[in-house]
Amino acid sequence: MEDFINIGRRVPKKDGEEKVTGRAVYIHDLSIPGMLYGKILYSPHAHARILRIDTSRAERLPGVRAVLTGYNIPSIKFGFYKDNVPLKAGKVRSCRDEVAAVAATDPEIAEEALDLIRVDYEALPAVFDPEEAMREGAPLIHEEHVGGKEKKPTNVLNLPWKLVCGDVEEGKRNSAHIAENRFKVTWVNHCCMGTSGCLAHFDHQNNLTIYSITQIPSLAQKDYTEALSAMGLQGKRVRVIKTTIGGGFGSKLDTYAFEYIAILLAHKTRRPVKIVFSRDEEFFATSPRQPAIIDISQGCTKDGRLTFRDVRMILDNGAYTSWGATTPSVMMMPISSLYKVPHVRYVAKCVYTNNTYSQAMRGYGNPQATFAIESQIDILSEMAGIDPLDFRLRNANTPGEVTPQNFKIQTCGLRECIDAVAQKLDWRQNRGRRDGRGIGMASLIHVGGGARVYKSDGCGTIIKVDDFGMVNVITGATDMGQGVDTVIAQIVAEELGVRTEDVSVIHTDTDVCPWDVGAHASRTTFVAGNSARGAARKVKELILEVAARSMGERPEDLDIRDRTVFCRNDPEKKSPLGKVLRSAHYTTAGRMMMADYFYDPSNENLDREFKGNLSVTYTYGTHGIEVEVDRETGEVKILRYIAAHDVGKAINPMLLEGQVYGGAVMGIGYALTERLILHQGKVMNPNFLDYKVLTARDVPRIEALVIETNDPAGPFGAKGIGEPGLVPTAPAIANAIYDAVGVRITELPITPEKILKALKEKELSEHRPAPVGLPEDRAARGSHHG
C-alpha cells in the first residue's frame, strides 16, 4: 500500500468557500459597462412557413438598439449535421425555433420589444412521431434533405450507425431461449440550477471575447471562429472566458443558437450583449436527453450463456441535429461490451420530426441502451430459470478480455461490484418474495480512460512553481462543479511532493489555458489528470536538477515529499523545497520552474465498422436496489440503494461519492418521475412544478461502494466516474419492481399509473385469457427453443 499524502484524501472542493459565501461569479452575475440585454422570440408553431416579419415597431421602442431576424444576418450553419442556423428564415420547424432577437438597454424593454414584433406564419402539416416521419408521404422537415441509395427526399438522416460483430443468425441458432422486447425512453432535461447564458463583446478590431459556461472551451472557440468567418471577420481572435458554471451534465457540450445570436447582436450594436435564459427557456430551448424506441432481442444457451444481442433503434432527431444523433456511437458500447456476447448487431436510424432536438446528457446514450439491455437480461434469465445474479456472474466481463467491438478491457471489477451489491442486499434471502417488496440489480460499462470521439482525445497542461513552492496548474480541462480543480491539484501535489493546498488550478481562459477536447465521456480525471501528472513529472525533474547542484547530490538519488527535498539513501540530508527553488532563481543563469505536457491517451478512433479501442480503460459498476410497491396506488418507494463502482482508484473519495449520489438521484428521476412532456411539439411542462426533479424529501439513502482495481494507465490508478452513477439506475429499479409485484414496465418514466395499469392487466390475465382490445404489449413474451 502506497503511503500517499494527497491521493485518497477527502479534500474539500477548492472553490467551496467562494460558493458558500455567495462570492462566486456566475454568468447571471456578470456585467460590463455599456452592456445590453438580449432576448429571443420563438416560433409558436411546430411547422410553418414564415410569410413576413415586421420588426419596425420593436425597433422604434426607446431602449432597443438592434433587432435581428433570419433575413438580416449572415449565413452561419452550425450543429453536427450543419442543418441549423441561429435565426430562422423561410420556415420554422419546431416550437423552439428562434425567429428574431432583440438587444436593449434593460431586460424588460427587450421583452416588451419581442411583443412588438409581428410575424405572419402559414401553418404546415407537422409530424411528431419518428415512426410516422419515416413513412412515405410524411411532411418533410428539411425539404432539401435527401438520403438513401436513390437520394430521395427523406426525414431519415444519412448517418452510418450500424455495428455487426460475428453473426447474429448463428447466435440465434445456438440459443435455447430468446427474448424479444420493445423499450421506450423519452426526453428529460438537465435542469442545471444555473440557467444558460453568455456575454459577448468585440474590441475595436473586432476580436471577440465571450464569457461562457461551455464545457468545451477549445472546441467552442473553434465554433465561434467559424462564425466570425461567416460574418466576414476572418483571422480575428476569439477568447473564451468561463465564469463559474451552474451545472453542466452535458448541456454545455454544444454551441447553441443563443450564443451565435449574442455574438451577432454584439457585433451589430458595437456593445457587449448578455443573454441569459429564463427557466422556461431553459426547459424548452435547450436540448434534452436523446429519446429512443428500442427493439432488442437477446438469447442464451440452456446454462445461461449469452449467445447474441440484436438491437434496432429509432431516434427522434427533432427538427435540427445536435449530439443526440451521435448517441448511437456510445450506445454501441454497452450493446457490444456489457457482459460477454459473441454475436452483436445494432442499427440505429435518426429521424427528423417537428419536436425538440437532443444533445449530450450524462451518459450520452448509455443509460438509454442499458435500460433495454439490463431489463431484458432479467427477462431472459427468468426464461432460462436462472437467478439473474448468477446469470450476470456467468457472463461478466473479465480483465484482459477483448470485446466484439475490439475494446481492450484492462482492469475490470465487474464481478466484484456484482458480488458486493448482492451481499449488501442479502440477495439469496430477499429475492423472489413477490410480496410488494423486491430487489433488482443492473450493471454498467462506460469509458473510463478518455474516449477518442474526435481525432484528438488530448489535454494540455502548463505548470509553474514559484519561489516558495506554490504551484499553478494551468489546464485545458473544465470544472463545472464536479471537482476537477481539486482532483488535479491532488494529483500534482502528490507527484511534486507538496500539499494540495499549495496547488491552484486555473482553467478559465483560452488565452491562457492550453488545448483540451472537452469535459465529456467522464474523461477529465483520467486525461487531464495524466496530463497534469506528466507536466508535474517534468517540473520535478527540473527541481531535482537544481536541488542536486545545491545539495551536492545526484538528481536520481533525490526525491521530494511534503515540501522537502531529501536524499533517498539518507533522508536526514534534506532541504526545504522553497529554499531549493529560490536558489534556482536568484543566481546567475537562473531557471524558471515551468513545464508543459500534452497527454493524448493511446486509445483509438472507431474505424469504419465502428470497431476499435475507444478508451484506454473502462469503468464498471453495478447498482442494486430494494423497492416497495404499493399495489393499490402503484407508487414505488426505494428502501435501499447500493451503488458499487470499479473506479480504479478514488483520488478524492468525498468528491467521488458526490458524483455517485448525484448521478444516482438523477437516475432515479429518469426512472420514476422525470419527463419533458411534448404535445404537438410544444413543451407542456417548462417549469419545476410540472417537471418533477426530486427534492430532499424524495431521495433514499445511497451506499456508494468503491472498488479499486488500480488501473496502471490512470493517474495513480484512477478511472472516470462522472457519468456511471446514472447509467444502470433505471433497469435496476425496473428489475426490482418486477421482483416486488411481477410486472415489467418497458417505458420510462415508470409512473404509478403505468404500474397500476400493468397490475390490473396482470390480474385480468391470471383469471381468464386476455380479452380482445388490450393494448399490444410485447413485454415478457419470448419463444422457447427446445
Binding site: 447571471h28 444555473g194 430532499a696 439513502r701
Partner: protein, 156 residues
C-alpha cells in the same frame, strides 16, 4: 408607476431605499443593491435558489414584494460570515462534507438550513429533509448536504 421608500435592516445594517413599487425582494438585492449572492433559479418560487431570511424565516425572494420588507430584518448569504470574515459553521460544514458542487443552490440551501437550526438546534434527519425540501439541487443528490447540516448542528 409608483415609488415608495422602505426602511429595513439588511445583514445587520439599517438601510433606507426608494424603490419602484413592483420590485421583488430578489430584484432589490441583486439589481438595486448589487448583492449577487442570492440567485434566481426560476423566478416563480419553485426551486428555492433565491431563499433569504426575513425576520428569521426562509422565503422565496423572487416572489416576495420588496415593499413588504419595510420594518423587517433581512439576512442574505453575504450576511452569514462574521465581521472578520469567519465562516458560519454551516458554511464550513458544507465545504467540509462535499455539499457544494456547482454551488448555484448553495446560498439558498444554507439559509434554509440556518432558519432550521435557529429554530431547532438538534433536528432529526427527517426534519432536515423537510426544511430543505424547497431547495432543489441537481448536483449532489442532497445526501452530503444533509450530512453537512447535521454536522453543523452538532457544532452550534
Amino acid at each position: 408607476m409608483g415609488k415608495l421608500t422602505i426602511t429595513f435592516e439588511l445583514n445587520g445594517e439599517a438601510l433606507s431605499v426608494e424603490i419602484e413599487s413592483h420590485l421583488t425582494l430578489l430584484g432589490l438585492l441583486r439589481d438595486r443593491l448589487e448583492l449577487k449572492g442570492t440567485k434566481e433559479g426560476c423566478g416563480m418560487g419553485e426551486c428555492g435558489a433565491c431563499t433569504v431570511l426575513v425576520d428569521g424565516k426562509a422565503v422565496n425572494s423572487c416572489i416576495f414584494p420588496a415593499a413588504e420588507v419595510d420594518g423587517k430584518s433581512v439576512t442574505t448569504i453575504e450576511g452569514l460570515s462574521g465581521q472578520d470574515g469567519d465562516l458560519h459553521p454551516l458554511q464550513r460544514a458544507f465545504i467540509e462534507h462535499g455539499a457544494v458542487q456547482c454551488g448555484f443552490c448553495s446560498p439558498g440551501m444554507i439559509l434554509s438550513a440556518k432558519a432550521l437550526l435557529d429554530e431547532n438546534p438538534r433536528p432529526t434527519e427527517e426534519e432536515i429533509r423537510k426544511a430543505i425540501a424547497g431547495n432543489l439541487c441537481r448536483c449532489t443528490g442532497y445526501l452530503q448536504i444533509i450530512e453537512a447540516i447535521k454536522a453543523a448542528s452538532e457544532k452550534l
